[in-house]
Amino acid sequence: MLTGWNDIDRMFGAMDLFRSRMDSLFNDFDTSYRKVPYYLAGENWPRTNLFDAGDNFTLVAEVPGMSKDDLNIIIQGNYLEINGTRKAETPEGYKVHKSERGTASFSRSFTLPADINADKVEASLKDGILEMKLPKAETAKPKQISVK
C-alpha cells in the first residue's frame, strides 16, 4: 500500500474542510433565526447590533411588542444592561390555539468596547426596535495625535 504525499495531503485537506464546516455549524446554531424558538436561547434575547461611530456607539435591539415602560436600561462605565418583561397579552375570554411569543422576563448585559457617558444617552423605541445612542466618555473618545 504505497501512498504518495499527495494522497495524504488531500486527506488532510478534506479533514480541514470538514472541521471548518463543523465549526461554522455550531456558530450558525447560536445565531440562526431558523431554530424556533430562538427567543428562548436565554442569553441571546433581545437580538442587538452595535455600531461604533468614533465619538459614540449606537446599539439597536429587536424588542417587538414592548412599550417603553416594559424596558429597563442600566449603564455603568462600559457595562450596559437591558431588562424587561414581555407582557402576557392573552385577551380575556379567548381560547389559546398557539402561543409562541412567550412571556418570560429577560435580562441581557453587554461589556462595551469603551466607557459611556451615561448622562448623555438617548434612547428611542419605534416599531419594536430600540435604538440607543451612547456617547463615549471623554477619556474613551479617539484623539488625533499630531506628530511633530
Partner: protein, 129 residues
C-alpha cells in the same frame, strides 16, 4: 439550509447579487373566541407599507419585509439584519373576509378575523313540551 431569496441580475454573463434577505418565520400567538380569531405576529422593524396580508380560499399569508437603517458607524457586531418574515396558515372557511382588520403596533401585526354570522355558536332554546 437557509432559505434565502436571491435577486440576481445578469449583465453580459456576469451574475451580480443585488439583494439577499433570508426568509424567516415570525412567531405568532393565535387566540379564538366566539366572534373572531385573533392572530398576533411578531415582525419588529417592519412598517405598514412593507406588510402584505392575503386571505384567499382558506389560506392566510402574512408577509413583512424589514429594512434596516443605514449603519451609523463601524459594525462591532450584528445579530439581526434585513429579513423577510413570511408565514402561511389555513383558516376555516367561515371567516368573513370583508371584515378582517389588521393593525401594526410596536412591531407586532395584530389580525382580527371575524367569524361569519352563520359560524357563530348559537344557543338553542328548549321549549317545555
Amino acid at each position: 439550509m437557509a432559505n434565502s431569496k436571491d435577486l440576481v441580475k445578469s449583465e453580459g454573463g456576469k451574475l451580480e447579487k443585488v439583494r439577499k434577505a433570508p426568509v424567516i418565520v415570525p412567531l405568532v400567538d393565535i387566540f379564538e373566541n366566539d366572534d373572531e380569531i385573533l392572530l398576533y405576529a411578531e415582525m419588529p422593524g417592519v412598517v405598514k407599507e412593507d406588510v402584505n396580508v392575503n386571505l384567499d380560499n382558506g389560506k392566510l399569508d402574512i408577509v413583512g419585509y424589514r429594512k434596516m437603517a443605514k449603519p451609523t458607524g463601524a459594525t462591532e457586531w450584528e445579530e439581526f439584519s434585513e429579513v423577510e418574515y413570511r408565514r402561511r396558515f389555513s383558516v376555516p372557511q367561515t371567516i368573513d373576509v370583508s371584515k378582517v382588520e389588521a393593525e401594526l403596533k410596536d412591531g407586532v401585526l395584530q389580525l382580527h378575523l371575524p367569524k361569519s354570522e352563520a359560524a357563530k355558536p348559537k344557543r338553542i332554546e328548549i321549549k317545555a313540551a
